[in-house]
């Protein structure tokens, strides 16, 4: 168990407002070992970002309910007090968000922001010390140290995203969550950054969760993958297993809607239908209305079926009561 960085059990996130409840994440179970990189994929609205934000406890507390447990280095993120959480934040657990253009305050120099962030956990750090540390990180993400004294608007989107990544690494965290961190970039920059991230990871002994809607990002930069649909994890396993032989009909559909990386020309297909209304509770399989292999039994909730190599599939096709 020492190797487990994050262990998430029966994790639920519900948005609550005056008129309705939205069940954004339902019964999520997964764990990440040290050195793993887990890709969480799904279309927009599948609950993948919500799950990340809930794990980081960054959702507004008034309008969200979180249940279940998420043990991070032996501490339950769900129940931790704000004070204890602060000790973990950025030191052990950091995050990079999607919109690189908005991830830094526009009216402060990068230097100022980095100094303030570093001093949250090292209040006595000197400017020189911080500069030295950060310029080292800038090199890791292929940026010149000149960047340190600039304002965010003086950088391009790709450069800003690299700065955000460097900032997220400043305390050498155990776990890094990247929420669509490369989505807004062009393909070439995205590829470069992903390469750099994978390289750094080895150097810094880091574990990563990568949230994306792009299967190719998962294929190139992750070793595990969780496929989410409508707030549920449909399939979970090693990338080499899942991408080679997808089992859940939704994963199959998702794979068919992306061009093959190996260059084989196949017809791209989209999945018919729309995401279900998440403010309702469903009896049966949530994917059944869009599933081409749906059966009568799909009116009942499918069990999570465990297979070899830690793989799980939430589908009636692979056993359980028939």
């Amino acid at each position: 168990m020492d190797n487990v960085i994050l262990d998430v059990r029966n994790f639920n996130v519900t948005y609550v407002n005056k008129y309705k409840k939205v069940y954004a994440v339902k019964d999520a179970n997964f764990s990440i070992n040290r050195g793993d990189s887990l890709g969480i994929v799904g279309e927009s609205g599948s609950g993948k970002s919500t799950m990340a934000m809930a794990l980081l406890r960054l959702l507004p507390e008034k309008s969200t309910e979180i249940s279940g447990s998420a043990y991070f280095l032996g501490k339950d993120l769900v129940k931790l007090s704000e004070e204890e959480l602060k000790k973990l934040r950025w030191k052990e657990l950091s995050v990079v968000f999607q919109k690189s253009m908005n991830s830094l305050s526009p009216v402060h120099r990068i230097r100022t922001q980095v100094e303030d962030i570093y001093r949250v956990h090292n209040p006595k750090a000197t400017r020189e010390e911080i500069a030295e540390r950060f310029i080292h990180l800038l090199k890791l993400v292929n940026l010149s140290d000149r960047v340190y004294n600039l304002y965010p608007h003086e950088l391009s989107g790709g450069m800003l995203q690299r700065v955000s990544i460097a900032i997220s690494l400043i305390n050498n965290p155990k776990l890094l969550i990247m929420d669509e961190a490369t989505t807004a970039l062009d393909v070439v920059t995205q590829g470069q950054i992903l390469d750099e991230v994978v390289k750094m990871e080895k150097e810094m002994d880091m574990t990563r969760i990568m949230i994306t809607h792009d299967m190719s990002v998962v294929a190139t930069s992750c070793n595990k993958v969780a496929v989410m649909y409508a707030g549920e994890i449909m399939e979970l396993g090693y990338v080499k297993d899942v991408l080679k032989k997808p089992m859940h009909p939704y994963t199959k559909g998702l794979m068919a809607s992306f061009p093959s990386l190996k260059g084989k020309k196949e017809k791209l297909q989209s999945i018919g239908g729309f995401l279900p209304d998440l403010s309702k509770k469903y009896e049966g399989c949530i994917f059944a209305p869009r599933c081409s292999s749906a059966m009568d039994i799909c009116q009942k909730k499918p069990p999570v079926i465990e297979m070899e190599n830690g793989r799980t599939v939430r589908c009636h096709l692979y056993g359980g009561e028939r």
Partner: protein
């Protein structure tokens, strides 16, 4: 930065020129001949007429007329008031300090109070205090300033009898030194209070919406994820980003005050340019009215340029 400055100054200059053009057009298009307009309706002195005709070159083509008009005005010659038979520029210069005192005091006070209220409302969004402030600002926004001034007179003077309502000093006493200052302050409370109340909604709304918007920005979320204290996030990052639109509003508000103050000076008999406006209207003293309009346009253009420069200093994104 230099180029930006240059561009701003150019626009400011252009604004002043346009103000002159508009003035010139109004004088020329107004019913009756321009000389009559410049002399006032009741006066028809042939000597004065000849002098004005000579001065403005009225027998020459329109564009030449315009340039000679521009030239005299640029020299600070805004014409002669028919009623008082004095240079308009002198009369305005005499009344200006009292008006500036009123405008700046209420401008700064409303900035501080309105912005503070907006920040509080945004931090406590949805609570009683937010609803109270928002309702208050909505109603104030709908009030004619002069009417609010009259109502304050009824409350604080007629009913409570605690504040003076007329003028800038007590005419019966001749205070000096500190006592004089206190007397002026006492006379300022009602007019300044009225202007501040009228200006609060502008600052309140912009501060509230801008704090709310910045709070939802991604960089604030990132800072929360770093474990930085809420206090530091607010004081250094939210505040600094959210205050930017307020700078622009300060310029607009001062511009509004420069003209709006005339109404309030009328209500409280404040011895500033507003009084001059009122008498000029009543006496059909057009040179004075036109002169005041020019002075107002120029001061607003200057205020706007200053505000834009301050903004450029505060926001690093504007440094092209």
């Amino acid at each position: 930065m230099k180029r930006y400055l240059f561009k701003r100054l150019l626009t400011g200059l252009l604004t002043i020129v346009i103000a002159f053009v508009i003035n010139f057009l109004i004088i020329n298009l107004a019913p009756g001949d321009p000389i009559k307009t410049l002399m006032g309706k009741e006066s028809d002195d042939p000597v004065l007429r000849a002098a004005l005709e000579e001065k403005y070159g009225l027998n020459k083509p329109l564009h030449i007329q315009f340039f000679s008009y521009l030239k005299t005005a640029m020299r600070g010659d805004l014409g002669i008031s028919i009623i008082y038979n004095r240079p308009v520029a002198d009369m305005i210069a005499e009344k200006l300090p009292a008006t500036i005192l009123l405008v700046l005091t209420s401008g700064v006070l409303s900035l501080i109070i309105g912005t503070a209220m907006g920040i509080v409302a945004a931090r406590k969004e949805g609570t009683f205090i937010d609803v109270l402030f928002s309702g208050f600002s909505y109603i104030l926004n709908s009030m004619p300033s002069f009417w609010l001034g009259l109502m304050l007179i009824i409350i604080f003077s007629t009913v409570l009898n605690i504040l003076p309502t007329y003028g800038m000093t007590d005419a019966r006493a001749s205070y000096t030194g500190m006592a004089y200052v206190l007397d002026v302050i006492k006379h300022m409370i009602l007019p300044v209070g009225t202007l501040v109340l009228i200006e609060i909604p502008m600052y309140y709304r912009i501060a509230k919406s801008s704090v709310l918007q910045v709070t939802n920005e991604d960089y604030i979320l990132t800072l929360r994820a770093t474990g930085m204290s809420e206090k530091k996030i607010f004081n250094k990052y939210i505040f600094r980003n959210a205050i930017l639109p307020t700078v622009t509003i300060f310029g607009i508000s001062l511009a509004y005050l420069i003209t709006g103050v005339s109404l309030i000076e009328t209500v409280f008999a404040w011895p500033g340019t507003g009084r001059l406006v009122l008498t000029a209207i009543n006496q059909r003293d057009y040179p004075t009215l036109i002169g005041i309009y020019l002075i107002m346009s120029v001061s607003i253009a200057v205020v706007m340029i200053v505000v834009d420069i301050v903004y450029a200093i505060l926001d690093p994104r504007i440094r092209y």
